[in-house]
């Protein structure tokens, strides 16, 4: 009986089940319903979810051991090789160039280059554009090449993994990429599964095969898969497998990790296949020595590859903004050039055409000249559209270091703009390690805590060597067997569970359905109560020094409603006892009124809860023989009942689990990664919202939410039901409001002042967002509308009227979630994770970051603006698709708050400066145009080619702040005005100290360029808030290099060698010899900078930013920090300050009780009893996936 069915039976028909990971919304054929079907189902809205999926039209067929059959063209089956790289040897150049020229800037410069080749237009030699363009393209291409090579390497590594494939009757080791659909493969323990494989048989009894699905869903407990009975019996040997020739018909490849439908036809018999028979790619074989399988889907058809989502090119906000600016600049440029061209036309008409000295013999009309000069200006003013910007930005990004591995360098500054973080839970927030932390076996004796000395476990040969333990009293009281309560405590832990054990070279290996349970049993083992083995109806433990076998009369398994599990045992002495462990709330209700220790345990629970440990209460009950027999009868009846068996069983269980006697409490720590709560707190302070998206169960997720302080006690938690109601109200409100469509409802969802948190499961998410069963809904909508025109019945509020409403609903949801200070989504599929991320991206226009470690996070990592991979336990998939990768969640703090901010500020300052510089530089030409008949003479063509590069070193490592582009525009205009008009005023009608007129254009150029260089470098100095010798060197060096190069290219020697290229002979030395020109330069620089200083100072004085204040009071804050550090040393314990969270430790799924009861997992193959065999197929195991 599946959980879904159980939920349905409890009457919550239209409500999604919190337990189940919902289907992803991928449309598969079986979701299509005929119109007739709809007509029928419409009347019974809301749709019951229990509707069994109609049998799939099998579109995919595989014949075992028959590659020819499987290679038939109509199937379009691919090999198992995966390809994530973009280029190969031949396609690299064309494809990469094509991609690069998709960038507007590159294309623009290509056009410029073409323009420059036309002699009538050319104002600058063509190589002035070609060289930088080639440089840009080259650098980018090399970067892409390196990236792609890494992908090639990774693909190769994966494709070359080995596995055994049956070929010509023998198993041959083959590379993954040569694997084909229809192959029979043999997998060994700890192998990754290379494709989606139908499990045929395994070395375990009943062809059971344990898999770790962490890569798929992030859950680390083992799942078991089972081969069909028929294949289990007939396909154990190599020769049998070689004869295997079944035909498997199944669904087409899709991305639904939770569903598989197929049929196997073998020897004219057909067998139904479902997900339990499938081993999915990405999982790992565990605890199974060997298994055999048939490849059904390979390579890109596998479910995990289908789930991957597309890799897309990520752009930072600044990138986008930059692009917009470049467009703006471009428009500006066109306008300016048009203006200048008109000016030129006019000038030529009135003056130029009459100036005999300008006669060029071309005979163009003045408007044609204007047209040509337009293009000429486009070329000459091209520095306004900054090609070097892209290069410089790349250089800056490369120059920055992040504390971890930055897999991409293009997103650094965006790290400073994150508003939302989407985090996976397992492996990201938590270490995925359960630690038995504390216990409270309430004892009558007084306690002396003897801490600080590790206890010697040598007396216990089964003790786990890794255990450390600090309470000698506990051990001594166990060893002395003085205190029966303590003994009972550990005995319970060793008996009441569904863990399975495997003996492996004198070592016991426990296999638990949930890591919590594993932790408890392991703890008991260390305290001398070693769980040794179990059969279908016995359990054997080592009790200190002697073995004891108990008869298991009943196993009352865990489920999330019961929140407890019990076991009824017959002791060797015949006494019957029930052991029970469960959540405190549940247990306390069922305690015997006379049970002792209630208060002390309660206290202990409070303490545990305060430390955010997950607690369990342990209790027992003695049952008389008669009582047991009576109950057993009922139990028998319930377990064979055909309707509502689950429910009936629950009632029976409830009956016996009464009047329990409390033994104590355990506390288990779902170990958080180091520093997680601190990090979350810090990030919250930075107004970054953290959403946890996890495949875990609601309880677990909520618990972790508390322990990492995402949730606090003063928060009001809203669940799916709540949210749905709220959203529905909002929707109704909108529907009733005739103008509702146009205006946006502004009022908040939560009016209370308290903090809110949202915990929502995947099922609810689908319900709320109308994501479920798209196609059917669409059909229904059509229907609904049809009907709507006939009758005036109000539309069903649970279904949207149209896409607009759906969109509104989603927007509402996002708005609502954003009002909450914490959002936790549990039981969500990888696809849903990505959907949530994209919802926030779409409706909030915010910068998002996803962090995760498993393959189930890949989609979300790719969707978010920035993806961070944790290189943790769940493999490297996430890291491969991430932009940044590091080992622990807490590094996020430094990445965002320190490096992100720095990069951001730096990049922004840089951009502003860059635009400023470009404008200042380019607009000097503009002003000059008014004095040279709009004929686009470069102020200094050789120098200009040189000096954007000149102060690149000055930009590195300095801080920039992006406020807005127009400020830099105006600043640039101002500077350029000064740089042009001050020398203009000074030069007009004057001459040098040796009588020679300095007003020749070369001297003018030298003065203007020198002023510009000094101004922009000093401007950088003003912007630099953090001076190191590197900065000093860069700024002073830039100026020095400028003068050096200038004197060099103005020298006589170089002119003699290249008389036509270097025509500035002597200009620098002649010009800069004159004090008058120096005075001009000083004045120009002064006028350019003084207003800036003045404005900056005014801002800092009157409207200081937080950063300014921090800077100003740096010393003080540093001192305060130190003090706080000292204070922090003693944590304050608030007793009862936090409400207790009764986490049932079985966090992941129900235990293996069914499995145990059926006896299938027991080492000794049970003699085949027909009735037992029959029952195997009847017990569904779907819930474990």
């Amino acid at each position: 009986m599946s959980a879904r069915a159980r939920a349905a039976s409890q009457g919550s028909l239209e409500e999604p089940d919190d337990e189940v990971v919902p289907y992803s919304d991928d449309e598969t054929d079986d979701e299509l319903q005929s119109e007739d079907d709809l007509d029928r189902s419409e009347d019974q809205l809301p749709e019951p979810e229990t509707r069994p999926p109609p049998a799939a039209e099998p579109g995919w067929s595989v014949r075992a051991n028959d590659r020819e059959y499987c290679n038939q063209p109509q199937f379009k089956k691919k090999s198992n090789a995966i390809k994530t790289y973009k280029y190969n040897f031949f396609t690299f150049l064309p494809l990469n160039l094509y991609e690069q020229f998709k960038r507007a800037a590159n294309l623009y410069f290509l056009c410029l280059l073409i323009l420059q080749i036309i002699p009538q237009i050319s104002t600058l030699p063509w190589y002035t554009t070609l060289v930088p363009l080639v440089l840009v393209l080259g650098i980018t291409a090399i970067k892409d090449l390196v990236d792609d090579l890494a992908r090639h390497r990774m693909d190769k590594e994966i494709n070359n993994r080995k596995c055994d494939v049956l070929q010509n009757g023998r198993f041959v080791e083959t590379r993954w990429m040569h694997l084909q659909v229809g192959d029979v493969v043999r997998l060994k323990k700890n192998d990754f599964i290379p494709a989606d494989i139908l499990l045929l048989s395994s070395s375990n009894p009943n062809s059971l095969c344990y898999v770790e699905t962490a890569e798929l869903d992030g859950e680390t407990n083992l799942k078991f898969k089972m081969g069909l009975k028929v294949t289990d019996e007939r396909l154990q040997e190599e020769n049998q497998l070689a004869q295997f020739n079944a035909l498997v018909m199944c669904e087409e490849p899709n991305n639904r990790l939770d569903k598989f439908v197929g049929t196997m036809i073998w020897d004219a018999q057909s067998y139904a296949l479902d997900l339990d028979n499938m081993l999915l790619r990405g999982c790992k074989i565990r605890n199974t020595d060997e298994c055999h399988g048939l490849v059904i889907f390979a390579g890109n058809d596998t479910k995990i590859m289908r789930n991957g989502g597309k890799t897309r090119f990520k752009r930072t906000l600044i990138d986008k903004l930059m692009n917009y600016m470049v467009y703006t600049i471009f428009v500006l440029l066109v306008l300016i050039c048009a203006g200048l061209a008109i000016g030129h036309t006019y000038w030529y008409e009135s003056i130029g055409s009459k100036a005999w000295y300008l006669y060029d013999g071309l005979g163009y009309t003045s408007s044609y000249r204007g047209f040509l000069s337009f293009w000429g200006y486009i070329i000459i003013l091209n520095t306004m559209v900054p090609i070097s910007l892209y290069v410089s930005v790349e250089v800056i990004r490369l120059g920055q270091n992040t504390p971890a591995k930055a897999r991409t360098t293009t997103l650094n500054e965006q790290l400073g703009q994150i508003e939302y973080i989407f985090s996976d839970k397992t492996g990201t927030l938590t270490q995925n390690i359960m630690a038995f932390k504390k216990c409270d076996p309430t004892s009558a004796d007084g306690v002396v805590l003897d801490r600080g000395k590790n206890v010697d476990f040598s007396w216990n040969k089964y003790a786990d060597k890794k255990f450390q333990f600090e309470d000698n009293f506990l051990i001594s009281s166990i060893r002395s067997k003085k205190d029966p309560q303590i003994l009972e405590f550990f005995k319970l832990l060793s008996l009441c569970h569904t863990v399975m054990v495997e003996q492996k070279e004198d070592e016991l290996v426990y296999q638990a359905a949930s890591p919590d349970e594993g932790a408890l049993v392991t703890a008991a083992r260390n305290f001398g109560f070693v769980f040794l083995s179990r059969t279908q109806d016995t359990i054997t433990i080592m009790e200190m020094d002697h073995e004891e076998t108990y008869e298991v009369l009943a196993l009352l398994d865990f489920n999330s409603d019961r929140k407890r599990m019990s076991v009824i045992l017959r002791f060797p002495d015949g006494k019957i006892r029930l052991y029970c462990k469960g959540a405190d709330t549940v247990i306390y209700q069922r305690l015997d009124p006379n049970s002792r220790n209630k208060e002390t345990t309660q206290e202990a629970l409070d303490i545990f809860a305060n430390e955010t440990l997950r607690t369990l209460c342990l209790c027992y009950k003695d049952i008389s023989q008669g009582e047991y027999e009576a109950w057993s009868q009922k139990h028998q009846e319930a377990s064979v009942s055909m309707v509502n068996r689950e429910e009936a069983l629950d009632v029976v269980y409830e009956e016996i689990e009464q009047n329990l006697l409390l033994i104590g409490a355990t506390a288990i720590e779902d170990k958080l990664q180091d520093g997680v709560p601190e990090t979350i707190a810090k990030l919250a302070k930075a107004d970054i919202k953290i959403w946890v998206l996890t495949g875990d169960k609601k309880e677990t997720a909520e618990n972790i939410g508390y322990s990492c302080q995402l949730l606090t006690d003063d928060m009001k938690i809203h669940y799916g039901e709540d949210v749905n109601v709220q959203l529905r109200n909002r929707q109704t409100q909108r529907r009733n409001d005739p103008q509702g469509r146009s205006k946006k409802l502004k009022e908040k969802f939560f009016t209370e002042t308290s903090k809110n948190a949202l915990i929502i499961t995947g099922g609810w998410l689908n319900e709320i967002l109308y994501e479920k069963k798209k196609k059917r809904r669409r059909l229904r909508l059509k229907k609904l509308r049809k009907r709507h025109t006939n009758s005036t019945s109000a539309p069903d509020s649970s279904q949207p009227v149209d896409d607009w409403e759906k969109e509104k609903r989603q927007e509402d949801f996002v708005d609502m979630a954003c009002e909450c200070s914490a959002v936790i989504c549990c039981r969500v599929t990888p696809k849903q994770k990505a959907n949530v991320v994209s919802l926030v991206k779409r409706y909030k226009k915010a910068v998002t970051l996803s962090i995760g470690d498993g393959a189930n996070d890949v989609n979300m990592i790719k969707t978010a603006d920035i993806g961070v991979g944790i290189s943790g336990q769940e493999g490297m998939q996430a890291v491969m698709s991430s932009d940044y990768a590091f080992a622990q969640f807490r590094y996020l703090e430094r990445l965002l708050l320190v490096h992100g901010r720095w990069s951001y500020i730096r990049m922004c300052k840089f951009l502003r400066y860059f635009f400023y510089k470009n404008f200042a530089f380019t607009l000097v030409h503009f002003w000059f145009s008014f004095f040279n008949g709009f004929s686009s003479q470069d102020v200094n063509d050789k120098l200009s080619l040189r000096f954007p590069k000149l102060y690149l070193p000055g930009q590195q490592g300095t801080l920039f702040n992006y406020k807005n582009f127009f400020i830099s525009l105006f600043h640039g205009i101002f500077t350029s005005l000064m740089i042009f008009f001050i020398p203009y005023g000074a030069f007009l009608q004057t001459m040098g100290q040796d009588g020679e007129a300095p007003s020749d254009y070369q001297s003018f150029a030298v003065v203007a360029a020198s002023s510009l260089i000094i101004t922009v470098n000093l401007q950088i100095s003003l912007n630099t808030s953090y001076w190191t010798f590197v900065n000093c060197f860069a700024v002073l060096g830039s100026i020095a290099i400028y003068f050096g190069i200038m004197f060099d290219i103005h020298s006589a020697g170089i002119h003699v060698i290249f008389p036509t290229t270097f025509t500035f002979t002597g200009a620098a030395s002649n010009a800069l010899r004159q004090p008058y020109l120096w005075l001009t330069i000083i004045l120009t620089v002064g006028i350019c900078l003084l207003p800036v200083i003045c404005i900056q100072f005014l801002y800092q004085t009157i409207w200081p930013s937080v950063g300014d204040k921090v800077q100003r009071n740096r010393k003080k804050y540093e001192l305060e920090d130190d003090e706080e550090e000292r204070k922090k040393k003693k944590p304050a314990f608030q007793r009862g300050g936090r409400s207790r969270r009764s986490a049932y430790a079985f966090s992941h799924s129900r235990g293996y009780a069914d499995l145990i009861a059926s006896g299938r997992s027991i080492r000794q193959r049970p003699r085949v009893r027909p009735e037992l065999r029959e029952s195997i197929r009847e017990v569904p195991q779907a819930e474990n996936i």
Binding site: P441, A604, L1090
Partner: protein
Amino acid sequence: MVITAMMASSYSAKEEDGHHSGSAGLGGTAIRTRKPDNTAFKQQRLPAWQPILTAGTVLPAFFVIGLIFIPIGIGLYVTSNNIKEFEIDYTGTDMSSPCFNCSQSFSWNSTTPCKCILSFSLDQPFECQLTALSLCPQSNVFMYYGLSNFYQNHRRYVKSRDDSQLNGDERSLKEPSKECEPYRTNENKPIAPCGAIANSMFNDTLDLFYIDPNGTKTQIPLIKKGIAWWTDKHVKFRNPGSNPNLTAVFKETAKPVNWRKPVYELDTDPENNGFINEDFIVWMRTAALPTFRKLYRIIQKKNNMTPTLPRGNYSLEVIYNYPVRSFEGRKRMILSTISWMGGKNPFLGIAYITVGSICFFLGVVLLFIHHKYGNRNNNSDIPN
């Protein structure tokens, strides 16, 4: 009573095969190797100085700048005022102008030079006077010609030259650069010097006469050497070949279309002929602005007794060759003395004084603002 057993032990669901070396191993060596080098540079921890614009630095800076700029400005202004400059426009657009006829009757083909005489008087002796501020590099008087509305900075015009040719390259002499079009060849002969700049060389001749109070005209000797940059004369411009006979050197070339004489007849002095003729060099150094002046001649001081140009009446004799009327240009003759800062230009002095004053004023305003706001903000805390 509560027994709290502290256990630092852990159970990992994945450890069953011993692949992980326990939870402690997670934070161990594997991570350490992934860290970037812990150098000051990579971790951005270089020793640094963080300057902040505080009142303590900004206000004194403003006052100091003000205090420096104002004296400089005054110095510049006074110097500029001490410079003597005389300017006379001889374009001849006015009917009353003596050059009116010449300007009107100009034709490219006329062979007889048109001459006009303008008289003017200087009411001060022209000589650099040694005062406190005007250091005199030389007491010579400089004579300039000035052109207005002349776009020597036009893009195509500026490019229309062949620097190789001017540098004496014989190949370029025979095969001038394409940039020179349409002044590259004439009647199948290469033009030397080619290009629009050379073609439009200023060719008026100016002579200056001092008229004694008794009426006698004395020609003032004008020195035509030393008016170009040393680098231009000796590096940038060179006659082709080693043959001192320029006529032979330039035999295969044509003169620029608008020139009356070929390039090798610019002067009789071989040191000032051909491409190294200084008038030519000065012309070839194109001006930045459409109104410009170029050095024409130097008037040297004869002796210590008399000023270089004494007070009195002068006459300027112009041989009017250069047409500017078509593009509404103007021609001027300028006489000027020179100080340490060059010629007369009050702009920079005024600008310095203005900027200095504004700085000083701003200093006061900022001081006031700082007094009013500064303390308030210094104390306010940062909201966390």
